[in-house]
């Protein structure tokens, strides 16, 4: 055992790292960026959710006119996790929840004050989307906190007025508008993971296989043949599209039949979403492979391309809960729109009409990437 030989090997590795600026940058910069994001996401510093409120309460009289609905509204306004949006009717609020304009809505019934003072149980209605458990929970918690506070205040006032010692509880009737209320965790996360898998493997395989085409020199042969750039790009697309769709079908089949995942909407529409995503990703892979010399360098693109999307595209943490600047960033990521569309179809049972704008954005991404991929291919020719 010669320490000098060991030192020579260690020294050589250091020299190689020093030469490889890109690796060096990735080793130090990427973890810092990713850790900051993860730190932010795991902290409970959430952006307030927009929650609708409909006050149908007619009010009543105790020492004077009183409207518990208005008290509730005031308490909700003071609640930190919520930005309150008043709506005139339950229908208007329901529409807004369905469209995703607001995260949820609370409806105070007409007889809220009356029943409470009569010692009867009043029932509030809570409208939730039912697509993102994290968001539904956040709304549920905020409403629960406010109601607990309010009933305490109420109990004091009723007691002071010489009424019953304890105020009757207010119950909340919860309705999920877009999905059935008894979904399991896999039902929520399944669609997102199918999208993320399709993105990840397509990106990795397309870029590595294109890089290999360059390193073995077969790209020279392709370029010297009468095949046009468009033919090469389309050939690649078709090959990887078929592959990615079969992969998605296998994951989907496994999730549905073995893991008992529920799919509310059409699988064909879900596959269409995946297909459009994959078209963009194949070309992204082709384009980025031109900036890599080795397969190691292609792998290094993953933390740059894939990790931020996994963290910010709504795979686990809903985009709506992110800081506004991160939300803007998330809108740029194709994965954000693919996952939103997949969830709409597979959890909420939406159809093509419900995901039209997402598909349009994914289509734009795909078209842009085809142009970039073909341009990268022409760099191959002199």
């Amino acid at each position: 055992m010669s320490p000098s030989r060991v030192a020579a090997i260690a020294g050589r590795i250091f020299t190689q790292f020093r030469r490889d600026r890109r690796t060096l940058g990735l080793i130090f910069i990427v973890p810092v960026v990713v850790m900051s994001l993860v730190g932010y996401l795991l902290s409970d510093r959430r952006e307030p959710l927009e929650v609708g409120f409909v006050n149908l309460d007619r009010g009543g009289t105790l020492f004077g006119p009183i409207n518990l609905g208005m008290s509730l509204e005031g308490a909700l306004r003071r609640e930190g996790g919520v930005t309150l949006r008043p709506y005139p009717s339950a229908d208007a609020a329901e529409g807004a929840v369905r469209s995703g304009a607001i995260a949820g809505a609370l409806v105070a019934p007409a007889d809220l004050t009356e029943r409470t003072f009569a010692g009867e149980t009043a029932e509030l209605r809570l409208l939730l989307r039912g697509v993102e458990p994290i968001i539904d929970n956040a709304v549920r918690l905020a409403v629960g906190r406010t109601l607990a506070q309010l009933s305490q205040v109420l109990a004091e006032r009723v007691a002071a007025a010489g009424g019953a010692a304890s105020a009757p509880p207010v119950t909340v009737d919860e309705r999920t508008l877009l999905a059935s209320p008894d979904l399991a965790t896999i039902d929520y996360y399944g669609p997102s993971f199918i999208g993320a898998f399709a993105f990840f493997f397509t990106f990795l395989l397309a870029s590595v296989s294109f890089l290999r085409e360059r390193s073995t020199g077969t790209i020279e042969r392709l370029s010297a043949s009468p095949a046009t750039r468009l033919e090469v790009v389309l050939g690649y697309l078709l090959g990887f599209l078929g592959f990615a769709l079969i992969q998605s079908l296998v994951i989907l089949g496994y999730s549905v039949w073995v893991l008992n995942m529920r799919v509310a909407g059409s699988i064909v529409v879900a596959l269409l979403v995946l297909a459009i995503l994959v078209v963009g990703v194949v070309n992204l892979g082709i384009a980025l492979s031109f900036f890599a010399r080795t397969e190691l360098q292609v792998v290094q693109f993953i933390p740059l391309v894939f990790l931020p999307q996994v963290l910010l595209a709504g795979l686990i943490w809903p985009v709506e809960t992110l800081h506004p600047s991160l939300r803007v960033l998330a809108q740029v990521f194709p994965l954000t729109h693919a996952l939103a569309a997949l969830r709409t179809v597979m959890i909420a049972g939406g159809g093509l009409a419900d995901i039209g704008d997402r598909l349009l954005l994914l289509g734009l991404f795909a078209a842009a990437m085809i142009v970039v991929g073909a341009a990268a291919l022409s760099k191959q020719r002199g």
Binding site: E220, T228, G382
Partner: protein, 260 residues
């Protein structure tokens, strides 16, 4: 002092390749520096030069992979790059440019279809070429299992799949043992007898003895051209190696002050 192929004669009409004043730069490097060359129809022209003399760049310009920075190249009466003409050129790269996890037969069929053959034609042609380059036993084994000689024979077969009129071979025998090298040259002569024009680049001096004519390239220019015998005689040398050194010495000395 330097004799270009053009100066040696031959009407341009019968030239398979004719290049004039070719310049190709890569950043500050001038890989081709005002190069003139003609390859006559039906001949085997050897392109002889050391590593880095511009052989590969020249071949890549001829096949249409690179655009010349200045000058022009005409192949089979068409100015390159030209996609229609690409289909009449066979190009064999220095390293075996093959799909490693496909078999020779699959590689051949694939390239055949890229050159516009139907699936059936490509298969028939692949079978024919596998026999021709004696790959019968290994035709259905993945390329990564093949020896260097077999790979290079597969590589050659891929360049022949569409029956090209002009075959450009970039150091086809580099790293190939003498028996395999000999059999490659037998294929080249065989093809040539069938009417194919060949341009073969090499840095191996005695290999060009097998060519009809030789163009010597150095620093991106043709420094001499002619039949092997003519070149030896003109240089007063007994071997090709001595002849090359004789032609290259003044060229190198002449260039020395110009290069920084």
């Amino acid at each position: 002092m330097s004799r270009t192929a053009g100066a040696t004669g031959g009407a341009p009409v019968s030239d398979a390749v004719s290049a004039s004043g070719l310049v190709r730069t890569f950043g500050r490097i001038r890989a081709l520096d005002g190069l003139d060359l003609s390859v006559r129809k039906g001949e085997i022209l050897g392109l002889l030069g050391p590593n880095g003399s511009g052989k590969s760049t020249l071949i890549r310009v001829i096949v249409g992979l690179l655009r010349p920075t200045a000058g022009a190249v005409t192949v089979l009466a068409r100015r390159m790059p030209d996609r229609g003409t690409s289909a009449r050129i066979g190009y064999m790269t220095q390293t075996a440019a093959l799909y490693e996890d496909l078999t020779p037969r699959e590689n051949l069929t694939f390239f055949g279809r890229l050159y516009g053959l139907t699936r059936r034609e490509a298969r028939r042609r692949a079978a024919e070429l596998i026999e021709r380059v004696a790959l019968m036993e290994r035709a259905d084994a993945p390329v990564h299992e093949l020896s260097g000689g077999m790979r290079q024979r597969t590589n050659l077969a891929c360049a022949l799949i569409h029956r090209p009129d002009l075959l450009l071979l970039d150091e086809p025998t580099a790293g190939i043992d003498p028996p395999n090298r000999r059999s490659l040259w037998e294929y080249f002569h065989d093809l040539n007898r069938g009417g194919t024009t060949l341009l073969v680049s090499t840095y191996i001096m005695d290999e060009v003895e097998r060519c009809h004519r030789v163009a010597m390239i150095e620093r991106g220019r043709i420094i001499a051209a002619g039949s092997p015998e003519e070149l030896r005689r003109a240089a007063g040398a007994a071997t090709m190696e001595e002849a090359f050194l004789a032609f290259s010495a003044p060229a190198v000395r002449g260039e020395a002050p110009a290069s920084t």
